[in-house]
């Protein structure tokens, strides 16, 4: 099973189109919407986990979304842990729902596993030193 979390950005002109459901209908993909903000005729986004039997089927589905005008980005680079700022206190591990933030023992270092991150953003407001941020994958610019 191939599974990946993606961020879909919908331009205003396509938010009224039924697109995500086509992933199942046309490409036999499973999806799980983790977070979304979509309104009619307004730019919107969706954080979605797409699972498929093969990477090829997954890629076809993603290509379909792109062809329809959806901007697809990977959330793996969206939450960022600033290692210079992190003090390894561990406070974030209380709220991370997927254990993407966990403590490596016996070193007691706080590790961020980007692959497990669902971009819920709880760590950003919980981290007492503000070491967690939301960044774009290219320039690390704050979104």
């Amino acid at each position: 099973m191939y599974s990946k979390i993606l961020i879909l950005n919908f331009p205003a002109e396509i938010t009224q189109k039924a697109l995500v459901c086509q992933l199942t209908k046309k490409f036999d993909l499973l999806f799980n919407i983790l977070r979304a903000n979509i309104s009619n005729k307004k730019e919107g986004y969706m954080v979605i986990e797409i699972s498929s039997a093969s990477k090829a089927a997954f890629n076809k589905g993603v290509t379909f979304l792109k062809d329809q005008g959806v901007t697809v980005s990977s959330p793996e680079h969206q939450i960022f842990k600033n290692e210079e700022i992190c003090t390894h206190c561990g406070a974030c591990t209380a709220i991370c729902p997927t254990e993407a933030l966990y403590i490596k023992r016996p070193e007691m270092e706080v590790i961020f596993d980007k692959d497990k991150c669902t971009v819920c953003e709880l760590c950003i407001v919980t981290c007492p030193t503000r070491a967690m941020g939301l960044f774009t994958s290219d320039s690390q610019k704050v979104i």
């Binding site: 390894h88 206190c89 561990g90 406070a91 209380a94 403590i103 919980t126 007492p128 030193t129 503000r130």
Partner: protein
């Protein structure tokens, strides 16, 4: 004469430090050494055991002299980066406290508040060498006619700045759970409902006062690592308690001893003084603090050789009990269990969450060890002890 087989004085140890011959190990390293050699042989061999802790310590702050202006001023209200500093002392002195929030902070109006900037952050910005906006008001007197001043300053430009923390370095602390059915945001971090996490805050076997449970070597004048510089113990801290329930090894089973400490803020560093934004609770300052313990005899060595499985704390409910002032214990757990990642409570497996950084605590104990080995840090002779 004492009944001890090993007898050393601080003076003798300092002579060894001066000549570079002192044997120094950390409070983690001593556990194995004492296990292999036995406490007497280990006490003969080792001269100093270093400890360390790095965690939010809310009773922290700094006295700052902002410098006189022309015409002169006696400030009655002072703000540093829009955070109020207490000014009810002489002319241009003030005290910036770690938990003071920014004047325009929305606080918990939209709960849980973010608390992005406060006194702790001002202190971190100062030691980082950043420019700070100073604003002060006065009612004006014949000798101090000025009623308002405003300027940008850096720590270097300030005439004086000293860190004075009335309560640091807690000897042991509660392990917090939430028995209520809603999420709560506390100074012990976020606590999920139905006891879904247990937060604790101690460096355990590396924690300074857990390695000298009766404070037999620590007193007024003890030289310490404070915020990256050399500081001193000035007295016991507020809420200091010594008559508490202890384990067979003498170590308190509940929050007990505390220290008040002092140091020159100008020599400190932002690596060891870090502003904290505690969601739904407020602002604070994480302080790096380490104490070298001179091995005067085998008894002191035995104290320093305690390990996490011999150090215990109590599980306290912050959902109902703590806010009501009740401190009922729901169980006693060791720091070995807490550091393992989960504890068992009434048949339920609960995730444990540290708030005290072991990574930083180890680094402090190591810095102290190296400074003593390099004859840069000497043991302070306590002028008065508290036991």
């Amino acid at each position: 004469m004492t009944d001890f087989k090993v007898n050393k004085t601080i003076e003798q140890i300092n002579k060894k430090i001066a000549s570079g011959d002192a044997v120094v190990v950390t409070a983690e390293e001593i556990i194995d050494i004492a296990g292999k050699l036995g406490v007497v042989e280990a006490a003969k061999k080792v001269d100093v055991v270093t400890t360390g802790t790095f965690a939010p310590m809310c009773s922290s702050g700094a006295f700052i002299n902002i410098g006189q202006s022309r015409p002169s001023v006696r400030t009655t209200k002072t703000w540093l980066n829009n955070v109020q500093a207490y000014s009810g002392i002489a002319a241009v002195d003030c005290y910036i406290g770690a938990t003071q929030t920014c004047d325009d902070d929305p606080l918990n109006k939209r709960h849980p508040g973010e608390f992005n900037y406060g006194g702790g952050h001002v202190i971190q910005d100062l030691v980082a060498g950043k420019q700070i906006h100073v604003r002060a008001e006065s009612y004006g007197t014949d000798c101090y006619p000025n009623r308002k001043i405003e300027k940008m300053v850096t720590l270097k430009e300030l005439p004086n700045a000293m860190m004075v923390n009335p309560r640091n370095c807690y000897q042991n602390y509660n392990c917090a759970i939430n028995k209520s059915d809603k999420i709560i945001y506390t100074y012990m971090g976020t606590l999920k409902p139905g006891m879904r996490n247990a937060n604790y805050c101690s460096a355990g076997e590396l924690s300074p006062l857990l390695n000298d449970p009766y404070l037999k070597t620590i007193g007024v004048g003890t030289r310490i690592f404070l915020g990256g510089a050399q500081g001193y113990v000035t007295w016991t801290g507020t809420q200091h308690k010594k008559d508490v329930e202890r384990g067979l090894n003498g170590v308190p089973l509940t929050p007990s001893g505390t220290l008040s400490v002092i140091g020159d803020l100008k020599q400190m560093s932002p690596e060891w003084l870090v502003g904290q934004s505690i969601r739904g609770y407020g602002v604070s300052l994480s302080v790096g603090l380490g104490i070298p313990i001179p091995i005067l005899n085998e008894e002191i060595l035995k104290y320093t050789s305690v390990s996490d499985d011999q150090l215990f704390t109590q599980i306290i409910d912050y959902g109902y009990d703590y806010p009501e002032g009740n401190s009922k214990s729901y169980g006693q757990v060791s720091y070995a269990e807490l550091k393992s990642g989960f504890i068992m409570l009434k048949g339920k497996k609960i995730q444990t969450v540290p708030l005290s950084s072991m990574v930083k605590a180890r680094k402090i104990a190591d810095i102290l060890k190296k400074s003593i080995q390099q004859s840069k840090f000497f043991i302070g002779q306590p002028q008065q002890t508290f036991y």
